[in-house]
Symmetry: C2
DNA sequence: TCATATGCAACCTAATACGTTACATGATAA
DNA sequence: TTATCATGTAACGTATTAGGTTGCATATGA
């Protein structure tokens, strides 16, 4: 499979939403993300269920933030997406009969679990407002 | 795609090779790994190129370790497999025009890079002899 | 009423480890 | 020398899953 870009895409579009004043339509988001409006709705559905965004049908409708960006972390969005699998690499089988294989699995899982823990902790420390701030700084530096 | 089990499988089979005295045929390895002999050869080819194992054709042939297990780390095998992609999650595009997207990518990459670094460091600290030792201990505990 | 927007089902596509078949090549034993 | 055993490799099929696409129902505002 290709990369799972849902987390990246949602962060991207949420920060744009934080900078706009009107609801963002799936169509406009699709242009930003260079994809299809259905893909946007499908992915955003998880964020709505998690309470991070709201959606309104009809004229003037679209997607809006349900809370300010500084109350949303990268980890929140990862969770709202259903905590998709992080690693492409894994054990051949979950509960093998072979004791050697069990030992190999234990060694690998230990290393991967530690990496996962670190990664999620890091995602939890960065709010979308932090990322937006980083953007503002780069943008300002560009104009100078 | 399903999990990439090549690392797990290679560690498994290498430790078995360390416990045997004769070359291990692809067929026998395939039974151990519950797969096909061609898959074994395909995957082991990388380990041979990296100098971790040797292969001999014909009668009495098969696969042998090129060095003792305490001179091979989990990281060595990961590298010999061509350093396959670790993470399933990634950016939507590598060099986006949108500055917001660049900022998102930078934040994500920073977190993922740190996790990768930790993971590879951990893989580099564990030799196959360490895993074999763990197995021996569990095995001995089982018999008591 | 009509244009606009989400909601959602149903299907196709791409990428890639893994599985499978077929055949060539090399090595050993009879 | 010949049969057997083993690796080497090409070629093609399979399964999984994010993403893409079409179609239609539903709700909202002008």
């Amino acid at each position: 499979m290709q990369m799972d870009a849902r987390l990246s895409r949602m962060l991207h579009v949420l920060i744009h939403m934080g900078r706009g004043d009107r609801p963002l339509t799936s169509k406009d988001a699709a242009v930003m993300l260079q994809t299809n409006a259905v893909v946007v709705r499908r992915t955003m559905a998880g964020l709505r269920e998690a309470g991070h965004v709201t959606s309104v049908k009809g004229h003037g409708g679209g997607w809006s933030l349900a809370k300010p960006l500084d109350e949303i972390t990268m980890l929140d969005i990862y969770r709202a997406l259903g905590e998709p699998r992080l690693f492409l690499i894994g054990p051949a089988s979950e509960n093998p009969d072979c004791l050697v294989e069990r030992e190999v699995n234990a060694s690998l899982e230990s290393a991967f679990d530690e990496a996962r823990e670190l990664l999620l902790a890091r995602l939890g420390k960065v709010s979308l407002a932090d990322i937006a701030r980083g953007f503002e700084e780069r943008f300002a530096a560009l104009g100078s």
